[in-house]
Point group: C2
Chain length 407, copies 2
């Protein structure tokens, strides 16, 4: 597996663009397009919120029933959620325009949105945006970056990743982009992710690979605990790499899932580390848990805890907060059996075991927590399951941003 | 039912005190005692966290197995959680000293703590504190207030409530005090509640009354979602009112549960409205839900949502955030059937129905959200179950407090 530059345009046959469409804000790119020269198999995972934005409803239909997909249109100004029939019609008009200009069927076009909930999208502007995007789309790395920038809301950096693998002597590329969630920044807490690949694979296996991988990547990120109405992650596979189409879970399938996992995990970690005002990527790794489900719950409980997030921000080695968050995760365990370590990639320091504080230096522990990437390692000493979750610290700056926003 | 002044000393035969014991801080009361001249039936509910503080383990034993309880000793400096054998020994020594001075058995003494997790309590100071409390305890309203002040951590006001009812021609009093939880204030997020009553009632029915009422009062409050290692609510009943002992769920039992409910609900609401930096008591009432469990989940999801809390703080009538929080509660429903109202006790304004925004004035809605008590009414139009949950808004001040604390 070779890590390469780029994102959604890294794989063969994919083009992208970003454009200023003034959906809500002026003087910034707020619409993006991803386009494939060849028809794609499409797979997707969507928000579990029962209140689903119109584009989520549109995309679920397309992914489930369309024979192929060839384009995605995104806007980052208005979420188009809680917008009723009018909101759904906006999706249809967007897809119609893109389909007309690109000579496709409308059901080959996905749409995605993020931004304020409850407002209707100005359809004229979105259609004008589609016109620009179709005109500007290119297959260059720069075009991919333009798209990655256009989907940002309160993100401070654009997020891309790409890798290559060899299958049947052919080079297969997987690349992607995503936008993350400001922590409490109202209206903009949506995760949007788009992965493109030139692999040839059956639609069923593409969906299975995505659904299985999401559980250990994007679903292990928590920013503010609010599950958006718009969360969307789609993968498009256009087959242009020329490998023999993957039809079963053979060696090639697992090579592909490894590449997909790298791209998803890299994007997920970038998202976690870019929470509003975040100063630290805060990782929690749980090992030797009784079951995988336990390990996931325990690690997510820690990275989701406000008390743990402030502990990391304040470089405060107050292990009790981490124990406390494990304790209310819903997993049953004996606190006296747990060991807790603080790590920063260079050092690993034992903080707690046998029910009491270990004999550690507060000063040294505080130094570890001051690192740009902090990991809390939790050894449950129970079974052999493990999981990792990612979040960010909870800083003063993030509230300054939000307080300013409110005033 | 007659609402009266006072708290834990309102009922006959109860005394209380607050004292400066310098457990962690100087120049403030940080220990409290509640004492009954007669032996009490005791009932309690405790944290669901699997990591339980030493006093929680002590109290669970006492409530389950002691024939009677006569005193409670509280400190608000150190939580005595994650402190192993030494922590439990501290509870025993505290109870031993109180028992010796009050001429009781040690298993008639409850202990409770709140404060920093993971530190050991300086036993000498706590024993000196017990000496002071025993000397100072009185049955006056002022003594009850002293105790209510002594258990505060980041609370801005002490919290008490008391009512009287008539049973068998006798006046029965129920009174209580509690401390609440600063929102993210590290180490201090514990709920402690103490209710005293002079009613004569069987231990089993006292426990049943408490356990059933907590579900709709204290358990419906959410401040920061972190469940403490120390949460404790106990009720002591000394029988001094002289009513015929309640041995079955007769009319008198339900009169008592009504009084208990008033005290618990009043304390719970005071706790919710006094979150760190809170400017608003934020109530969510869900009506016409399919089941009581659904109604509870839906209402708690809204008051627990950071996005909703900032909406209330910012007086921003962005209904989408409320829909979003209902949507990820785990309850299945059709968003198009839901109606949403903003209320402030004087006005009720329809904000959302039939899947889209109602035709409301943003300005008027914003005025409602600017009230000191804001209620979001959610009509699910599905069944006949209802529930109410209480929380507070999420303000800039609360973070200032925490940011200062960290620096």
């Amino acid at each position: 597996m070779k890590i390469i530059e780029g994102g959604v345009t890294a794989a063969a046959g994919f083009e992208a663009a970003g454009a200023e469409a003034a959906i809500k804000y002026q003087n910034r790119k707020d619409m993006a397009m991803v386009y494939s020269r060849k028809p794609c198999k499409a797979a997707g995972v969507f928000t579990s919120n029962v209140v689903k934005a119109a584009p989520v409803m549109w995309d679920k239909e397309v992914v489930a029933h369309s024979p192929y997909v060839q384009a995605v249109v995104v806007n980052s100004g208005i979420a188009n959620a809680c917008t009723g029939t009018q909101g759904y019609e906006c999706c249809r008009k967007t897809a119609d325009r893109a389909a007309e200009l690109l000579d496709l069927s409308a059901d080959a076009v996905l749409v995605a949105s993020t931004g304020v909930i409850g407002s209707q999208i100005p359809v004229d502007r979105i259609l004008a945006g589609v016109d620009k995007l179709v005109q500007d789309k290119k297959d260059t790395i720069e075009a991919g970056t333009m798209a990655a920038e256009a989907i940002m809301t309160t993100d401070t950096v654009s997020k891309q990743a790409a890798v290559q693998i060899e299958l049947d002597g052919r080079t297969v590329t997987v690349g992607g982009m995503c936008k993350g969630s400001g922590m409490i920044h109202p209206n903009m807490c949506t995760m949007l992710g788009f992965v493109t690949t030139d692999i040839a694979i059956s639609k069923e296996l593409l969906q299975e690979a995505l659904s299985e991988d999401v559980v250990d990547t994007f679903n292990m990120v928590s920013v503010d605990g609010d599950t958006s109405t718009n969360d969307t992650l789609v993968v498009l596979a256009n087959g242009m790499a020329g490998n023999r189409e993957i039809m079963s879970k053979d060696e090639n399938y697992y090579k592909f899932t490894e590449a997909l996992h790298y791209v998803n995990q890299t994007l997920a970690k970038k998202m976690a580390g870019d929470g509003e005002g975040a100063t630290t990527l805060f990782e929690t790794r749980v090992i030797h848990a009784a079951t995988k489900a336990d390990a996931r719950r325990l690690s997510k409980s820690v990275i989701g805890s406000s008390l743990c997030k402030t502990a990391v921000y304040g470089n405060d080695a107050n292990f009790g907060r981490f124990l406390c968050a494990l304790g209310y995760s819903g997993v049953k365990f004996d606190p006296e059996k747990v060991s807790l370590y603080f790590e920063n990639g260079e050092k690993s320091m034992l903080i707690y075991e046998n029910g009491v504080a270990a004999d550690y230096s507060e000063e040294e522990a505080s130094k570890i927590l001051a690192s740009p990437e902090v990991r809390v390692l939790v050894d449950m000493h129970t079974g052999d399951a493990e999981a990792t979750a990612w979040g960010c610290d909870f800083s003063y700056d993030y509230v300054k941003i939000n307080a300013d926003y409110r005033s």
